[in-house]
Point group: C2
């Protein structure tokens, strides 16, 4: 942390010489300040936004938040600091001394020596109100201000931690990161509806297409990664992908980020599932340990009980069942499904939910799907009447399908035959 490092530097220089009262205070983040174990009057400067203000006869309590953590820092000031400008939402810079707090609510508080209002906020006109828990639908109207609420702040910090954890996981495992192209002429075997891209001012290139051929926004970097896996045994990408599905459901987004990886020389789904399980567990554990308060908030107000369920998942080894077993389990279920489970049909969300519950709320890998359900590049298991491919989906409680993957078909004549059967030979001649 930047703030914490500044503080250390300040402490170091304080210890080597008597600390004059007016030496410049070291800038610390709220997170850095709250993390100080035994505050002892260190002079610091904190910058952020006022989250609450309570004025008593002789003292003024402010809570200042700077986005570095869910918790705010309590600032205690003489009532002479009180002013109309010190309002909910205003941005301030506070200088003072970090001291042990007499309250049990926090370890540390900041005894203000100087408070400067950097930006005013008209609390009446401000759409985010003090102490109110606004519905997410209401906050959607204020994309530029909603990140000042607890819940959106937490979500963004968790996303940031998860992103960093994913990059670290692959780097530590020896994967090479590849930026696969976003603008592409390839549609990755109909993974979804495409967005087309054109220069907006067509005046400069009147008669021809900018790229000579029609181009789209990527729906998956998989085929580009597969090419790279002919030179690097382990590659991954983590970039934006796009689907032009005209839907306002919770499960469809026009633009989202996706992690994709390819491993060369992989011979068993077992090895692939090991990477998936490690990625899930490493990322989840990093988030839980680096932003426990944010996770707690989400689990309290957004997904009650989810934290216990997550810890339950992390403690247990994930399970593995075959698609055929999964269909048997569903057929024997007492529950009535909207879609009758049947060998050869896709698993629907209701089926996925049942399977996860059946497995004791532990994530479960479903392997070996019917060949007819899966794209041409998945490896044929050559397993007789019930013809399957070496595909795997990871089903997770509360989410459904989280990861999907497969062994890739490396036998040229198998690929040729399947492309021909699907009428894709022309499209994939390259």
């Amino acid at each position: 942390m930047f703030g914490a490092r500044c503080l250390l530097r300040a402490l170091r220089s304080c210890s080597s010489a008597p600390c004059p009262r007016h030496r410049p205070a070291a800038r610390v983040s709220v997170r850095g300040a709250l993390g100080v174990q035994s505050a002892n009057g260190e002079r610091v400067k904190v910058q952020g936004w006022i989250r609450s203000i309570r004025s008593q006869k002789e003292v003024l309590f402010l809570h200042v938040n700077d986005g570095s953590s869910l918790e705010s820092l309590q600032v205690v000031a003489d009532s002479s600091f009180d002013s109309r400008e010190l309002a909910f939402g205003s941005s301030v810079e506070v200088q003072g001394q970090l001291v042990k707090s007499p309250s049990k609510k926090q370890n540390v508080e900041l005894k203000a020596e100087k408070i400067e209002v950097v930006g005013n906020c008209d609390a009446k006109a401000f759409p985010v109100k003090y102490k109110e828990r606004h519905p997410l639908e209401y906050l959607r109207q204020y994309p530029h201000l909603r990140c000042r609420t607890n819940v959106l702040g937490s979500v963004l910090r968790v996303r940031s931690e998860a992103t960093a954890a994913i990059h670290s996981f692959f780097k530590d495992s020896g994967f090479v990161h590849i930026h696969t192209p976003v603008i592409t002429s390839n549609d990755c075997e109909g993974a979804g509806e495409l967005f087309q891209v054109e220069p907006s001012s067509k005046i400069k290139v009147p008669e021809e297409n900018f790229f000579n051929i029609p181009v789209f926004l990527t729906v998956s970097g998989q085929l580009h990664l597969e090419v790279m896996s002919g030179a690097f045994t382990q590659v991954f990408t983590f970039g934006p992908t796009f689907r032009a599905e005209n839907s306002q459901s919770r499960r469809h987004l026009a633009e989202f980020y996706m992690v994709e990886a390819e491993i060369s020389f992989l011979e068993s789904l077992q090895d692939l599932m090991q990477v998936m399980e490690s990625l899930f567990k490493t990322t989840a554990m990093t988030v839980l340990s680096n932003c426990p308060k944010d996770v707690e908030l989400c689990h309290k107000f957004i997904a009650p009980g989810q934290k216990d369920r997550l810890e339950h998942m992390l403690k247990n080894n994930f399970l593995v069942i075959s698609y055929t077993e999964a269909v048997e389990i569903l057929k024997q279920a007492s529950q009535n499904f909207t879609f009758t489970p049947e060998w050869g049909a896709d698993l629907h969300t209701e089926h996925e939910k049942y399977l996860v519950k059946h497995c004791g709320d532990i994530p479960v890998f479903v392997i070996n799907y019917p060949l007819a359900l899966k794209p041409f590049y998945m490896r044929d298991n050559e397993d007789g009447p019930q013809h399957t491919v070496a595909a795997v989906d990871l089903l997770v409680p509360g989410v459904g399908e989280l990861f999907g993957g497969s062994l890739r078909e490396e036998r040229y004549h198998f690929l040729e035959q399947r492309l021909a059967r699907l009428g894709l030979t022309e499209a994939y001649q390259w």
Copy 2:
């Protein structure tokens, strides 16, 4: 490294029990194998592509590369292993013992016990030839195979390391990572020509626009980040950006990755320049220390002498001059420029190159540019007849402008006035 970790595990289990000759060999990467300090007959499995093959009377030498490093691993095999399938470009899996190499060229070699050809390669038809240094223009024709060459492999590894280093730098400095949108309706104040986005199958949504308004590919996430910096004091993004400039020059790409950061409460360009200098130095040093051989190759064949120049940059503190000083230096230059240097005119590449040379090939920050040259959101210095803004560009030897930044104008009436003067009030009413 995944490979290295496997190796450690294998060594550990070997030491606790006598190691039978046929226990399964641990999979290691070439990088992992080459990194073993004192090889002592550990049984390992290496997978990769044959980079060279030399057959002697009784011994066969193979060099196997798996993309984890520029260097290949030397495999020494009995000549009985020789076969027509063992050819340049073929993929192989080799099991054997890691031993100290008698040659001075490498520390370690692999004594093969088993060699399996996983995929054949017809060396005659293969466009990448053994021991040939292909021009980059030739390799452009083979985007799916060029990553098997030394130079493209090195470039991709360096890019991967630099990407990881950038993420680590910001995380360690307490920045929150934000995925700013790629599809956007905002053109970030004319930073470049835009690409427009439309669903490719318009059948489903015949009469209306998919997003209700025209949307484009982002040219910069800056304005989205600025919004976030109203809740988090330090944010960054590192994503794809797009410019529809119809140009085949070395300096223009339709799609490229850009690092952007915003710091709230920042009051001086000095603090901003400190972050820029640290980012540059941390990233460059990480790349130099994690892939020295790749860097050496690039510097030998692509940019001769660049490594010394880079080390020279890392050793020195970057310099700072004002735009006004820069123009004075250019005016006094003995060199004739195509564009005559003049206060109020943009600095051209020839000027940037001269300035960097003038500064002893040390990167130099040029600050305080004329207001008329810069966008509306940069902070007015209010400095009289020569009216400037608090903008900064970092000029780097061999590159030119690498970073740009500014203090943002936070005074509302200044913003209003400048938007009005530029006729942008309507476009930015939000």
